[in-house]
Symmetry: C2
Subunit: 595 residues, 2 copies
């Protein structure tokens, strides 16, 4: 059985020492979140994830979800009890407004708990995760009545939520959407259509499910600007809030898929279901997009979460598994063999995962804090800057944390050798579960196009310029000897990113294919620079703690791991730059039939 | 359902135009293999793989193997009939000596058919693959009586074979082996012990299974130099060749694993089983190693095979799936959307796979031909050179073709978006199946250590020097304008490999950890140079054919795909060099407890 321990110390180091969360005390909810309270809250979350949720992950994968002939779906054994504990602990609404029953703590706390939960069981974490996404959408776009009707029940965990976009003919290109909505005399709509790949579409964890459904109102314009968002409850609530009649929405089947077997991925059939408009007519895509930035950050966190738990297991196995001898001679001559952690190549795999996880978590928290500023600050300038940051970094985080999270799950599995391929150790499940994160909420190629095609040019490149200015400013003010081994390589990598940006400006305007051909490499290059910057920030904080007399193995390890990142991971920027500068030529030359 | 078409034209281009197989006509079996005969034979193989085997792959994964309470194992529906067709077609012994019922064709033909078969169904292909490995071992190390007793039945496909090495406490480090052999008065041995991860250990495809079992003779020295190889038949043959008594070997259970569900991976219990010495006492590892080079080449071919079939499906999907519009404006304005192959980033994924597959196949055939020289040439000099080549290239091929084969299966799955995660399209099966190739027959980290620690220094570096001399010689004689875009980048990459080699010579003697820390990157760097060289050879042959008036889309595509490789894949060599030169420092600094 896999192990898991939530990275509490790491998280508190980032919050308190690297990002100095106290500086955000002017925002609502932050002053309440003192270091002591944060530690207490996160310790509780850690306990729930480690003791209640994590033990369900492996058996939940094996058992999977079961659809009965009446269309109901059973989740794996234990999921109900765990979901109840999660809800009763108040975790669903930890960052939600107090007026709807939430705790009002920073959204950053939800992000952190989301990481712990997804490490413990990604399949399980998706149920609350999707509900929190639906809560955010209703908070942002719902009427006062809708908020009052849905939010308290959802925050209590009595009702859960979903997001219904995809149809068989329509994935990335939502303009191809066919699900129909017809306005009724009472102001509601009749919804008809089929949605696929609906996570948590039907299950037995809650008494009601609130579907957010993208559909096309009869007579609406074709394409993406003719889509509207609807609330379609599985059971229609009565005026007094109690449950009324069953609505015309059914789970037609559960998809057989590679992983996340504990989460029910449903084909949902809407058969004259009653839906309620949320947000504006024909502006459904805008409502989706406000949710999507957060959902994408959440998916990035899933990638990180799997990478973290996979690392912990691989490290434990490498310390325990006796096989062969160190290249420099037996380290444990009294044992039949040395533990495989003596081997540089095993350490290469472990350090690669670790150097990524620590910086990836920093990148997530840095950005989550900006999310809080966006939603809670009263300072317009600060809000704009934070929103710019979110917009720019979200596709980067989504793609690199999931690409690398998956790659790291594969590396961690490799540390186990043949045993990694066997189900009982759980390593192969991490690989199968992590795989979907590169695909859903916009496949990573779409993230790259979003970054290059939309986020870079937005507002005359304001967000990118602010990012460059911050990193350059940091490099200028941190050139001392202790920081040189870190800021030196970061400067080189930033130079590559700037060259790549310049190349895009020169070559992609007239030939958009050059932007498309460069997009994935540009995103990876951007991600490496962002991670490198996080490493500098962490090393700086670690050096300060060490200088202040904190004799800490963990702070020493930060300096070494940061060096590993600079020496062995950051140099990839040069390859990305070379690929970008190669242009679209050899990609676009062959006719489609030649493939 | 996935599609598959064996790459017949590609293979014949490599055999006839690139490697000019006619030049090997002095070797036994080659003169018979005229271009016409080769085409006929390979067309037959293609037909069998496409029509009989491939349709079993997806259902076979779903059904898996079933162990009954008596220890017998049922393979998925259809495997028996397909195996019979394979055997009756003479494919098992296509390269085996005529005196035992084989066809005597080059072993290269077996390698090619092995690729087709593993593309069609890797799980199925493992049954004949392991049998061919056992045939090779008995041919090389068996007595005349053993050959007569086993080979004809195995070549006929009536009996199959396995390889029994791994035990729970003993994977890479075979010196930890515990399975015991005790000599009996009649010269046979009693074998006792437990073996795990035994592919095709028990099944219903053959009337007998010939297990090759590594064990330790009572009183043998500890460690790897006390291990001996035994033939342990599931059913003991009588003197007349007919089947006699059941031997003391049983399948204890089938492993639940990530993929290759159609192949039975067994725990094998040896309970006073009767075994027969093969090869010399306490030299079992030598016998294993002669098999292993070929087995490792075969596993590399599996990686390539999955990459090929994954590519074919991804390319077909990209041509068909309508979603979004080209960045340069609608290409098919009459359709609701353009096929996704219009997108540069989709092409990036497809071209990456394709550029790898074509060069990977070349690398395999180049090396397989050297294998034929090793085994069949009468010229000692030629044999030594070919053996050097095999020894040097085998770990490289095993590791890069499986690392990249897996990565390519993931890329191909990505082209499918969400549909790639759903079982029915078969793309996720390719990922799960390919994953094991990076692990078995020596995990890829072990291949890297074999290359750097054993193959480079062997015979004063003779093999490496020969490789360098060949590539350098080629670069010198192919500097014309048409070849410049190819030999230029190859020259740079070769320079990186030479710098890396120099760095190893300078830094790894005194500090072996520097070799271990560099090994995986050195192997990848080596692989890129070898693939780059293959691209030059292919481009040269394509240019010659085009110059000779062969107006061929396929030859034009070679020039474009080769350019893609040079521009976008080969530049990775610089990152590998940087990592190698970083040394072992940041890897080895942390204490084991810090992980």
């Amino acid at each position: 059985m896999p192990i898991y321990k939530a990275p509490l110390d790491e998280t508190l180091f980032l919050l308190n020492d690297v990002f100095q969360i106290g500086r955000y005390n002017n925002l609502p909810g932050f002053a309440d979140a003192s270091p002591d309270l944060l530690e207490a809250v996160l310790s509780e979350a850690a306990k729930l994830c480690e003791e209640v949720v994590q033990p369900l992950n492996l058996p939940g994968d094996k058992e999977g979800c079961t659809r009965h002939s009446d269309g109901s779906v059973a989740t794996p054994k234990g999921f109900q009890q765990a979901f109840r504990k999660y809800s009763e602990g108040g975790w669903m609404g930890i960052s939600a407004p107090a007026e709807y029953g939430g705790q009002g703590l920073p959204e950053t706390v939800t992000t952190i708990v989301g990481e712990f939960l997804a490490s413990a069981s990604m399949a399980f974490a998706m149920y609350p995760g999707l509900t929190q996404g639906a809560i955010a959408a209703i908070l942002r776009h719902g009427t006062a009545e809708q908020k009052a009707a849905y939010l308290p029940k959802m925050i209590e965990g009595l009702w859960t939520g979903t997001m219904n976009l995809t149809e068989p003919q329509c994935g990335t290109d939502l303009g191809l959407l066919r699900t129909k909505a017809v306005r009724q005399a009472d102001g509601s709509y009749k919804i008809n259509g089929t949605k696929i790949f609906i996570s948590a579409g039907e299950h037995d964890l809650s008494e009601n499910i609130v579907h957010l459904v993208l559909a096309r109102i009869e007579g609406a314009p074709a394409g993406i600007r003719g889509t509207t968002l609807f609330i379609v409850p599985k059971i229609l609530p009565k005026a007094d809030g109690s449950l009324g009649a069953k609505n015309g929405v059914f789970c037609g089947s559960i998809e057989e898929k590679m992983g996340i077997h504990g989460n029910s991925t449903c084909v949902m059939n809407y058969d004259s279901a009653t839906g309620f408009l949320i947000g504006e007519e024909n502006r459904g895509i805008n409502a989706m997009f406000t949710m999507m930035n957060e959902a994408r950050l959440g998916v990035g966190v899933q990638g990180l979460a799997i990478s973290e738990v996979a690392y912990q297991n691989a490290a434990a196995y490498a310390r325990d598994r006796l096989q062969g001898r160190a290249l420099t001679g037996a380290k444990f001559p009294d044992k039949p063999a040395d533990p495989i952690i003596v081997h540089p190549d095993v350490r290469r795999m472990l350090m690669t995962i670790r150097a990524f996880n620590e910086a990836g978590r920093a990148l997530v928290l840095w950005t989550a804090l900006q999310g809080d500023v966006t939603h809670r600050s009263g300072d317009d300038q600060a809000k704009i800057a934070a929103d710019d940051h979110m917009g720019l970094l979200t596709p980067v985080i989504k793609a690199i944390l999931t690409d690398q999270g998956f790659a790291n799950a594969v590396l961690a599995q490799q540390v186990y050798g043949g045993h990694g391929y066997i189900a009982e150790h759980g390593m192969e499940q991490f690989v199968r579960d992590a795989r979907i994160t590169m695909i859903y909420e916009g496949a990573n190629g779409i993230q790259a196009l979003d970054l290059v095609g939309r986020k870079l040019p937005k507002d005359g490149g304001r967000a990118l310029q602010a990012f460059f200015a911050e990193v350059q400013g940091y490099l200028k003010t941190h050139g001392d000897d202790a920081m040189k081994p870190y800021v030196g390589p970061l400067g080189t990598a930033l130079g590559h990113l700037q060259q790549a940006t310049m190349w895009l400006m020169t070559n992609a305007m007239a030939k958009p294919d050059n932007a498309g051909a460069a997009s994935s490499d540009y995103l990876q290059l951007f991600g490496l620079v962002a991670l490198g910057y996080m490493w500098c920030r962490m090393v700086e904080a670690a050096q300060a703690k060490l200088a202040a007399g904190a004799a800490s193995e963990r702070m020493n390890a930060k300096l070494v791991t940061g060096r590993f990142f600079m020496e062995r991971m950051l140099p990839e920027t040069s390859t990305h730059l070379a690929r970008i500068q190669a242009g679209a030529g050899s990609l676009m030359e062959l006719p489609a039939e030649a493939f």
